[in-house]
Subunit: 410 residues, 4 copies
């Protein structure tokens, strides 16, 4: 319930999003910033009794030896976005939460992520079981020491390479049977999924804000229902892809034929560094590319590039060129450029998800939270095909909120 | 009913939109072009039995001494958009329809439009009554000679300066009482509204595709209901404003604060020439500007400019710069450029409106057709405030079509 | 000589450029910043023995009751551009120079500038003579109290409305004869020119970084030669116009026919506020617009707009759309957007001019310094037509520097 | 001499540039088009007595079974750029020149180009010698049958993959010694260089408008001097790279530090199809990328992408994002988009080169024509480093023309 103490556990806590989420929570709790950028502070959500910033304790895993304060300072240095007064006021809280950060696990993250490991305590387990136990122990310690009513696990770590699922991931029984397999070259699951497993096995909800595999595994869907917990994902829809799911419906509704849609993305933060590795980039490009066809119902030529340009730091810049055909065969062009600060766009959406997932958990929901599709590039569904049209997604969220508001708040 | 002969009467028949609508109808009737750009050819509308291109006979008023064929040739020369084979094949039909074009009326159109008058038969009536009688006589002749089941009047003429309404426009009785007033300096109504009056008084539906006053007069709303006819308007939403009503909802739904929205429009067709006159431009800018506040619920700084750049001809180019604030107060920027061909974007929407209005008339609807809001920059409503959010407008149209499809087709 | 103490007296010292120039000099003197953006620190200029930052003492006139420190803080608050450490380190120097700032004069600046007057000491003289004496007294005090070898006067105040010259401005004799005329509605000269007169009459060089009239008066050209001093202007070429004079030569050299060139400028600093007044804007638009024709040798359709958009503060954003015709009559398009920080672009160029003008003065040059054309939108010339092509201007400056470097340094 | 009959032999005669050059010559000879886009028709060149369009006979090699008329029709269909009347008037000439087109040679062009081969007569020689003899025989036939005073060979074929030079290319003797080597996997030279060798060995000048190796081989430099003939190249500077060499000097001259320069190019013509092959693309990217560093004198992060987007056909669209640092460390952004028609931009420059090379040949010049650098992305030089700054290149050409004009015309 609102007012209860709740925990936010972030995988990748010391990254750009993790540190901005932490700073943001600390600033909101002090009433130092307005709620701009936070969807769940719109009037629509007033009847829902969502958690307030003051309710939150932050903790998490990371693979780098770093601090929340240092991460905030780095962002400020590279991208010049925070008010120095605000940062100074929140240092105490960041420092307090820093004590809750634990070394993470690294499995099938690709060599670029592995190179980022700098924390001496990072776990390279020989079996999935050992990793799960370690993660669960960290989560339980966090919950117990802080006396938390609820804990939600949020994945904001760097993108892993695509991970192909096999028969063993079809059911929880099959997958659990391999928990003790020792094969570092063929891990049972990548890190993102082990975190999801560990969390949901404890009945804690899991949110995947990245394109990594996370909980999008049939066996983990089964687990969520079995443990009466919830999950949501994948890949926060913050900038260029958001624009695609806003604009493509317009072309569809006007019966304008999209001939080609080219999107070039450049940025220079750590996420960009990881995505500069072609293996890791694959997951992201796939996630960004599929929305056009899904919305239009046909496949125009599409091209998505993501390039690491160091000088831009956290300022993600995208150029999209949309070539379309109108009446009597005439070709026309729409172009846009998007100059957004990645962490600043992502952090409030992550907080929105956290608030809505905690709420759904209190309502006793279980399994994938499909009403959260508008927050994701690749929304998970229980069955069937995902809706990508931003406005249909928004309408679905509004419907959910209205129905909840009419019932009793939890 | 589909298959019946129906008439399309255009005010400004020889302009860019009028001639493109004509060429388009002729080409569609010959199955020479796909239905790209026509909303009402989307699968959603299949159950509605709308009129086919073959059903149409075209006629109209214009104030210039010109021809449909010449207008098409001018567009081709300036903007290089039509397939020469297509134009050649349709010349016969254009020439046939040319015989249905009559000299128009000019009242309160501003001096820039008045300078365009080149047809010797243009009516400068001394009273509104004379103008009405002349227009109605033209309309009845068109219907009778062509043996038409239905006739719809579509205003695609140049934009008039704003016209302030007075008490005399509050009711049909008051307005009718002044029908014979002789005062050229204070005309009872501008041309666009006289056409609307004339049409609806004969029970014919009227569509205002321009920002001119047209039927948006209380007394004419009354007339529509009284004569059991329908009307719709104002100002076709074809390009930059369409984009605004697509993008602004995204900023609103994400709780991103729009600080300023600047839109610069440049183009060089006759519409542009007329809008170069500050008086006429006022109507357009007002229509383009009000959507932002209506959607966001607050007023950021906005600026709309429309400039006549001759070399662009019909290629309307817009640059929009949207400055917005996100989480923790960070300012970010989105920009877009839109390079569309004005007539090519407008003509299919005009045809969509024509088909849907003819359909509604057959169903016995009366008054303003509010479900057509997605086609207009300044949608007319029966009462209350208009919806500007493109996706809510679209949802309303979809709801209407679904309900109609479930009932009996007309 | 380099190493000597020299004075920089700025008209509008407390504005965006004035305060950035001051902060920049203080930071350079402390070796806290690299010389990026300063043309005169390129290797080409090494042989010239220009003054170093350490040599300078700053003073000036302003009409607002404000401080250098406050102006820097405002810029930081609105545009988020300065490193807080740098500002902190330079506060002492800014505070010291603040003591040299005097209330300015206001004559024919337009009502928008007059509204900005907040300093109680601002001089509204009844005659030009009184204004001149007051300005000269301030300049002499500054020189004497600070024991300065040279003083240069730099106009970085807001843009005045255009001022039409008459016969009385043709010669120094005629103009001087009217020095005591009392007619506030028809002032002999606008403020910018009185400052120029006052300075050059004392033998001090004058630089006009704005489009105001300044020293571009035949009588003042005469004065400069007579007093053996130098002057340069008008209107620093910092952003969009710089781009025009870079790109237009390319179109000319490639024999591509520019059909239209549209430039929209938006920004929100005090300069923008003043230019929002149509009277003051005229001077600026004229200055920005004439370069295209001058370079191409013919007049395409051009359009320049400058609009005040508050949220942008000092971030001047320009969109230019260039429509051109190539081989076989094909129309093509180039567009650019420029997102520059106005003060940051202007301040180093102002410092370059100051260094080069002080140098020229030491060399004994007199009259208009034509080799400085590359720094100005509307370069003043002794006679004939100004060169606007940026690369020809640059070549002329390089030639001057090479010739000077071969002679004896001063 | 002007008025003499001269031959233009194009490698890749049936491509986009080849067919536009042919159509353009035919149209110019009929005085149907102005000289827009042709540098050598600027007043500067008036004193040079360059060849007129009427003087030219066109022929060439191609590897596809196609026709000049068909190539022009394809361009028109895909890109909608030519006036139909103009095309109709020139068909006779195109058909006449078609008789001069011969099947070309294909060696080390990469598999993508090899797939384009459709002409049954294409030569896949087993030795370089056989290829040379065949090419020379075609050239001599062309010259003799058409009674031509001069013939110039122009390479406008698709881009080959990079070809690494070895010791055998150091001198003509070494290279000639291997003329009869039979090794298809390690050809002595790629096609583009064999054409150059064949041409220059006959004393005919050679122009390389592509990034392929062509005559940029030490042994071929030697040959040119020995045979008293001229050559020029490489890679016509038509669009995005032209812009780079125009803008980079501005950043350098203003001492603004370029942090990163990203350039994305999209287009859909045959050239684009070939460049879609990563091997062939390498040559082009290298050519486009090196100019920035060469002009700035340091290496910012740069990124050049070239992508095949079919719907764009010949409309090459580029987006460049330039991130730069100014005074006091402030980061700023300039972006541009370029929407140019590739063939229309390239064809007139190719004709300019042809006219200037024929002229130089008549003057008795020999070796690389360095004064033509402004036409090329990667200008060849006799020794030392190439100048890339467009304005220094232009100044060099102007100097040459002025000197020639003062001498006796040839």
């Amino acid at each position: 319930m609102k007012g209860d103490r709740v925990g936010l556990w972030m995988i990748g806590a010391l990254g750009g999003i993790g540190s901005t989420v932490s700073l943001g929570l600390a600033a909101l709790a002090r009433n130092m910033v307005p709620n701009t950028g936070l969807v769940t502070f719109l009037p629509l959500f007033e009847g829902l009794c969502l958690n307030q910033a003051q309710d939150f304790v932050v903790g998490g895993h990371d693979i780098r030896e770093a601090t929340l304060e240092g991460a905030v300072d780095d962002l400020q240095k590279g991208s010049n976005i925070f008010d120095p007064v605000l940062v100074a006021s929140c240092r105490d809280t960041l420092s307090e939460w820093q004590a809750n950060v634990r070394p993470g696990v690294v499995i099938h993250c690709g060599s670029t992520i592995e190179k980022l490991v700098s924390h001496p305590g990072v776990i390279i387990s020989d079996t999935a079981k050992r990793a799960l136990l370690q993660i669960q122990s960290d989560l339980e310690n966090f919950r117990d020491r802080n006396n938390l009513n609820q804990v939600v696990v949020l994945n904001v770590a760097s993108t892993e390479p695509p991970y192909p699922l096999g028969e063993e991931h079809e059911s929880l029984d099959k997958m659990s049977a391999l928990l003790e397999r020792r094969d570092l070259n063929a891990p049972l699951l990548p890190s993102s999924s082990l975190y999801a497993w560990a969390a949901m096995d404890l009945g804690l909800p899991y949110i995947n804000f990245t394109p990594s595999l996370g909980s999008s595994v049939p066996a983990l869907h089964e687990l969520a229902v079995k443990r009466r917990t919830t999950h949501a994902g994948k890949d926060g829809k913050t900038g260029e892809t958001l624009m695609k799911t806003v604009l493509a419906p317009m072309f569809a509704n006007r019966n304008l034929q999209v001939l080609s849609w080219v999107g070039h993305n450049i940025f220079g933060n750590r996420d960009g560094q990881v995505l500069n590795d072609p293996e890791n980039k694959k997951s992201k490009v796939r996630s960004k590319d599929e929305v056009i066809r899904a919305i239009l119902g046909y496949q125009p030529q599409t091209l998505v590039s993501i390039e690491y340009i160091e000088s831009l730091d956290d300022w993600k810049t995208a150029w999209d060129h949309i070539h379309f055909r109108g009446f009597l065969g005439v070709k026309m062009v729409m172009q846009f450029t998007w100059q957004g600060c990645d962490s600043i766009l992502a952090a409030p959406l992550a907080l929105d998800l956290v608030r809505l997932v905690l709420y759904a958990q209190r309502r006793g929901e279980a399994g994938v939270l499909e009403h959260l599709a508008c927050f994701f590039k690749s929304p998970m569904v229980k069955a069937g095909r995902a809706e990508h049209d931003f406005f249909r997604q928004t309408a679905a969220l509004e419907k959910y909120v209205r129905e909840c508001s009419q019932g009793k708040a939890v």
